[in-house]
């Protein structure tokens, strides 16, 4: 029963592929969730029962894992994701001012998406601490980010 709802969902193939690849691995839930999110862009809530069934765990456990980790999303993120580092090393090089600038430029607060589909997320360290401030756009790392460089990169996203 729980499986049938997911089988009707639009993301069925991605979910079934992820299950086939990862459900049998020890501790397979994390790789499985990553695989679904990579394919779909988020983890559709309606697939929870199918994941729970495949791993023989409760829906509550799957829900618990998804909500525990900052990375997992249950709704689409937007066309692009900008992660701005707010940790100490970046703060020492002006990350707070950059954060203010970024929110004003995008017209979106942290954890929100701009009108043109750019999601702004905080991140606590990208490991680029000698080239602070740092940020990541769609998985690509940028260092020594000034407000001017931020604007240039955002403009490129908007024109893409």
């Amino acid at each position: 029963m729980s499986g049938s709802s997911a089988r009707g969902a639009p993301h069925r193939a991605a979910v079934e592929d992820a299950i086939a690849l990862h459900a049998g691995r020890p501790g397979g839930l994390m790789p499985l969730l990553h695989a679904i999110q990579e394919q779909v862009g988020f983890i559709p809530p309606e697939v929870l029962p199918r994941i729970a069934e495949a791993l023989n765990i409760s829906r509550a456990e799957v829900h618990g894992v998804i909500t525990f980790y900052h990375d997992f999303r249950t709704s689409p993120a937007g066309r692009h994701v900008v992660k701005l580092c707010r940790a100490e090393a970046c703060q020492s090089m002006g990350a707070e001012a950059l954060a203010q600038h970024a929110q004003a430029r995008l017209g979106a607060q942290f954890h929100h998406t701009s009108a043109n589909g750019i999601r702004l997320e905080p991140v606590y360290c990208l490991g680029d601490c000698a080239c602070s401030p740092a940020m990541m756009i769609d998985g690509r790392l940028y260092g020594r980010v000034t407000p001017e460089r931020f604007d240039r990169l955002i403009k490129m996203l908007e024109q893409a």
């Binding site: 020890p26 501790g27 397979g28 839930l29 994390m30 790789p31 969730l33 990553h34 791993l55 456990e61 618990g64 894992v65 525990f68 980790y69 900052h70 990375d71 997992f72 940790a87 100490e88 090393a89 970046c90 703060q91 020492s92 090089m93 991140v123 606590y124 360290c125 990208l126 490991g127 680029d128 601490c129 000698a130 080239c131 602070s132 740092a134 990541m136 998985g139 690509r140 790392l141 940028y142 260092g143 020594r144």
Partner: protein, 526 residues
Amino acid sequence: MSVTVYVPRDAAALSVGAQEVAQEIARAAAARNTDIRVVRNGSRGLLWLEPLVEVDTPAGRIAYGPVAPEDVPGLFQTNFLSGGAHGRLLGFTENIPYLKRQERLTFARMGLTDPLSIVEYAAHGGWRGLRNALALSGGEIVETVVQSGLRGRGGAAFPAGIKWRTVLNATGQPKYVVCNADEGDSGTFSDRMIMEGDPFVLIEGMTISALAVGANQGYVYLRSEYPDAERAFEAALATASQADYLGENILGSGHSFHLELRRGAGAYICGEETAMLESLEGKRGMVRFKPPLPAIEGLFGKPTVINNVITFASVPIILDKGAQFYADYGMGRSRGTLPFQLAGNIKHGGLVEKAFGITLRELLYDYGGGSASGRPIRAVQVGGPLGAYLPESQFDTPLDYEAFAAIGGMLGHGGVVAFDDTVDMAHMARYAMEFCAIESCGKCTPCRIGSARGVEVIDRVQRGERREANVELLRDLCDTMLHGSLCALGGMAPYPVLSALNHFPEDFGLSPASRGAGRGMTQVKG
């Protein structure tokens, strides 16, 4: 004749344009019909000079940096392929004082070669430790690591060999080897550099550990914020497996070791070893009670070696050159070297591997060159978000586990973050509590609730509401967190808060005369 040009593939170098520089060099060479070979090496760790381009000349490798794509035509015009003079010329790489004065053991190969070339790895001393280990019993490997004095480089500094011995002697089966690559501390990037810039050394170190304790399966738990490291390490795993350094019957020895990479999902707490085990098991990253120790009941309830990337990466040279060679570096009970990471508001940020015992001041000024802004360095946080803020009066403390514990600090994973005199230490104290609240796993009350209350109390102090009373309350709260938390997150988040209060009281609107008057720092655990 083809000239070799090196442009790093390290994520930090890429973050400031190394990919564009490499492409521009290749394009310009082709346009000039000049035959060059571009090698994407690891970073030398001189990160303020990235992108650092090196040219292999008959006299040695010559460095230029930082190179922007628009510098490339000028480099060709000044004949940089022969080491020609240019505004970005730095001279022989090996003679740059920042690099020359280091003691690189763990990072010995960093930046020399294409990190994904297993041939180059072997040509530069790789696999010698593993070959020696294959001729020893598990107990003999363990004793070598014990004798070297190597302590856990993730932060807790527990003797690695003792931990391995516990796993070796544990009766549970199967046994696991797990590498903690959840390098979440701000100001640290040495794990990332190893995984991108010398990944085979981590594979070799973990394989030696597996031989020592009798494990056939290992995992590397890598944080999701490091996609470049993930790609590099996955490629290295595939290459090592094909070459029989991993998998069944390693090098025909009869030993088997399977190694897998697992990706975290953005939870700082999963750098705590028991939370990491939960995450590897596919669960929420909730901290476990100890005992049982993971060495007895770890991953899936089985005996498990858990060490940090740098710990494992330091093992091959110990097995290669012997325990005494490694133990000859360092001071007191801190043996060997630590790859320090100079970060934040520092002129010459980068990786500095030195024997324990160098002072913070030497690191900040002789290597770091002072602040990036040119203003005085006012505070330094050593050891990540849970490390104490140190004022100038403590800069002469030697970087040694015990010396730092004695001043209420910790070396942690070797991250050093500098702040100039524009820093507001009350703001940084508030941030420490806020970070703890965001990242708390929620299992224990002092951490989950205490950190949220801590933010509120600091807000009141900053607003000047009943300031003295609220500072007293904050100290009480820190005391509860220090002594009542389940793990180091809640248990050490008070370090940056109390050190800020004790050393920079004026930032909290308190009289500077109260400097250092606080309690609750030096008597606590080290």
